[in-house]
């Protein structure tokens, strides 16, 4: 009878990509242990509050991981240590964002009353009681400027994307590169540019159209790049079929390619809008801030949500700071709505 000899050193095939019950249990135990020890650390040392507990938690995870390396294979221990580091990096990043959303809602809520969305600040100073005044002027101004900005920017962005994907012209690479570079133009520089051209030379005063142009500059790269990604998803056989039927490139683009990605292009536009809806710096330089509800976008300053937040925060009283948080709440809600709209449209497009 022969016995199969299995050497101790034989490497067992590992499946690191698959989580077993044992490893999940080990991980959970590890977390509980770390939680207990961090509670101990908080009790003994001067660290206080949830944030102190979190710091202690990360610290004890690291220490426990290090201790674990004495009992385990070095490779496994290092892997565990890296896992802990990567997961805590992710969780740490989440904390401030959760805090932002939480404080915007919590601190913004007191600013809301029945007429908050329908009154302007013409007869109310920002330090007055919170049941007076509102931000209708800011909402209307922001929506007007966003509309004008999208009228300017969306055709241009889609044209640039068509140039890169459909025409594949000689400068396609250059256009992509410059679009990418343009996304890094500081918003205040766009504001200065529009100020030095449109505001000084054309309108001779702050103007909603000037603000919209500054927003359009900042929006262009997002729209172009997203539209480009969308157009690339159109399968080439659609174009080939169209050409085979004798269609020209113009007909192919307008009757085959663009209709097939309509919702994707809408997503691109809405994402661009979400990106610029909260731009403050360029508006301070181009559209200014005005406390009265107005739809005059040609001449004179016009209100907008970001400048409303900025100016009420600057006033410094308790009421005005609460108003700033209220404005932040509305602005964040607007962006959230735009964003979810864009996502759901894009999702439907992908599903088809």
């Amino acid at each position: 009878m022969t016995t199969t000899f299995i050497p101790d050193t034989l490497v067992k095939p590992a499946r690191p990509w698959r989580r077993t019950h044992r490893s999940t249990l080990a991980m959970l135990g590890f977390m509980v242990l770390a939680g207990l020890s961090s509670t101990g650390i908080v009790a003994v040392t001067g660290l206080a509050g949830p944030l102190g507990w979190y710091v202690a938690f990360v610290f004890s995870l690291a220490v426990l991981g290090f201790l674990g390396s004495f009992f385990r294979d070095r490779v496994v221990a290092v892997d565990l240590f890296a896992t802990v580091l990567i997961c805590t990096a992710f969780m740490t990043v989440l904390i401030p964002w959760v805090s932002i959303f939480y404080s915007v809602i919590k601190r913004g809520a007191p600013a809301f009353y029945k007429g908050y969305l329908t009154t302007d600040m013409l007869v109310t100073s920002s330090g007055e009681a919170l049941n007076l005044g509102g931000l209708s002027h800011a909402i209307v101004g922001t929506l007007l400027m966003l509309t004008i900005a999208s009228l300017i920017c969306i055709p241009l962005g889609i044209i640039a994307a068509i140039y890169i994907v459909e025409i594949k012209g000689r400068f396609a690479g250059v256009v992509r590169f410059l679009t990418q570079a343009m996304s890094g133009v500081p918003s205040i520089v766009a504001g200065l540019f529009i100020y030095s051209t449109l505001v000084i030379l054309v309108f001779h005063s702050f103007s909603g159209i000037a603000g919209a142009c500054a927003l359009a500059i900042l929006m262009l790269p997002t729209v172009t790049r997203t539209a480009e990604e969308v157009l690339k998803l159109v399968p080439d056989h659609l174009r080939a079929a169209s050409y085979a039927l004798g269609a020209s490139q113009t007909q192919t683009t307008f009757k085959v390619v663009l209709p097939s990605v309509r919702s994707g292009l809408i997503t691109a536009s809405v994402l661009g809008l979400a990106r610029v809806a909260g731009e403050t710096a360029p508006l301070l330089l181009t559209s200014g801030y005005f406390i009265k509800l107005t739809t005059n976008v040609r001449n004179g300053a016009i209100g907008s949500l970001p400048t409303y937040i900025f100016s009420t925060l600057g006033a410094g009283t308790t009421e005005s700071v609460t108003r700033a948080w209220g404005g932040a709440c509305v602005l964040l809600a607007l962006i959230l709505i735009l964003f979810i709209g864009a996502r759901s449209l894009g999702g439907r497009n992908k599903g088809r």
């Binding site: 690191p16 892997d79 896992t83 140039y163 410059l178 200065l192 540019f193 909260g278 710096a281």
Partner: protein
């Protein structure tokens, strides 16, 4: 339409017209017009960038002529009496240093976290969670800077100040953490941390896109050799994605250098070159422009335009470099 197509194409139904459709490789006249219009429209980004540079230079030229290189290096911002140009003196040295200090702090804090987050999203979290978290990441990237500023000013300042005080207590012997007075509010460190939060989504999404293209077969080979998940990341993914991470970090740097409102709200604007990151002294070119714009006279406005030009060129340079670096790993994508 289909009936018409048949009648056109089949010779039996129209025997008088034996000539088929002309197959040409040249574009027809309508296509030529179309291509011309699209091409000229696509040059818009080029035109806008050139116009921004040209107009800021045009407006700021007088400042560069009057102050020369000193405009970059001097540490003074004095509009004078507003009438006589000789009484005015401008130099953005302190603001440039302040921009770099805050942006570098932001970069040093944000890059490791962005790397960890990207790795987590790509290799650790379950796929249903990944789809959700990716859209969350896109969403937080769209949070306006004014909200980051308000949050940094009203919520985060308390924590940042206490951390600054603790750092100074324990590591105050380092010149970096030295402070002239015990005021830790509105310091470059706090501004840098708020900026770090703002650039994490940018760097993460670039890094994640690069990591997701890491050669799957090589990672599987590492597993087959008995390696752990970390070995695969350490030996395959990280080397592969290095330039992507650097490029993503530099895109973040460009954003941090040009950030206005958030820095304006959380940083104390003082005209002094300051490397003591805990002291309540700092600045940044963009927030200088926002700060001085409202009350600027004609000559001071020109100085602001010149400052804007410097900022524009610096960020453009950083972005060009970043785009080139990212493009090198990812080939066509960016």
């Amino acid at each position: 339409m289909p009936t018409q197509l048949v009648s056109d194409a089949s010779p039996e139904t129209s025997p008088d017209d034996p000539v088929g459709r002309v197959i040409a490789t040249e574009y027809g006249p309508s296509d030529k017009v179309f291509r011309g219009v699209i091409t000229s429209g696509a040059m818009m980004s080029l035109v806008v960038l050139a116009l921004i540079g040209a107009f800021l230079l045009f407006r700021g030229l007088e400042i560069f002529r009057d102050f020369g290189f000193g405009f970059i290096t001097n540490v003074v911002w004095d509009p004078g009496d507003g009438i006589d140009k000789a009484t005015a003196s401008f130099g953005i040295g302190a603001m440039l240093v302040g921009s770099v200090v805050t942006a570098v702090i932001a970069l040093l804090i944000a890059t490791p976290f962005a790397m960890g987050t990207a790795l987590f999203l790509e290799f650790y979290c379950p796929s249903w969670l990944r789809i959700f978290l990716t859209s969350v990441l896109d969403l937080v990237a769209a949070i306006p800077s004014v909200i980051y500023g308000v949050w940094g000013y009203a919520v985060f300042m308390k924590y940042g100040t206490s951390w600054g005080r603790a750092l100074n207590e324990h590591l105050g012997w380092l010149p970096l953490f030295h402070v002239p007075s015990q005021n830790f509010e509105r310091s470059p460190l706090i501004a840098g941390m708020v900026l770090a939060l703002m650039i994490v989504p940018i760097t993460t999404s670039v890094a994640r896109a690069v990591y997701s293209q890491a050669p799957r077969d090589q990672i599987d080979a590492v597993y087959a050799l008995g390696g752990s998940r970390w070995s695969g990341i350490r030996h395959i993914v990280l080397p592969f994605g290095r330039s992507g991470l650097i490029g993503g970090a530099m895109l973040g740097l460009g954003r941090a250098l040009g950030e206005t409102v958030a820095v304006y709200l959380v940083l104390n604007l003082v005209f002094r070159i300051n490397f003591e990151i805990l002291a309540s002294v700092g600045g940044n070119v963009a927030s200088l422009i926002a700060n001085k714009f409202a009350e600027a006279g004609e000559y001071e406005l020109k100085a602001l335009m010149a400052a804007g030009l410097v900022l524009f060129l610096v960020t453009l340079l950083v972005n060009f470099a970043a785009t080139a670096i990212v493009g090198r790993t990812r080939g066509t994508e960016s």
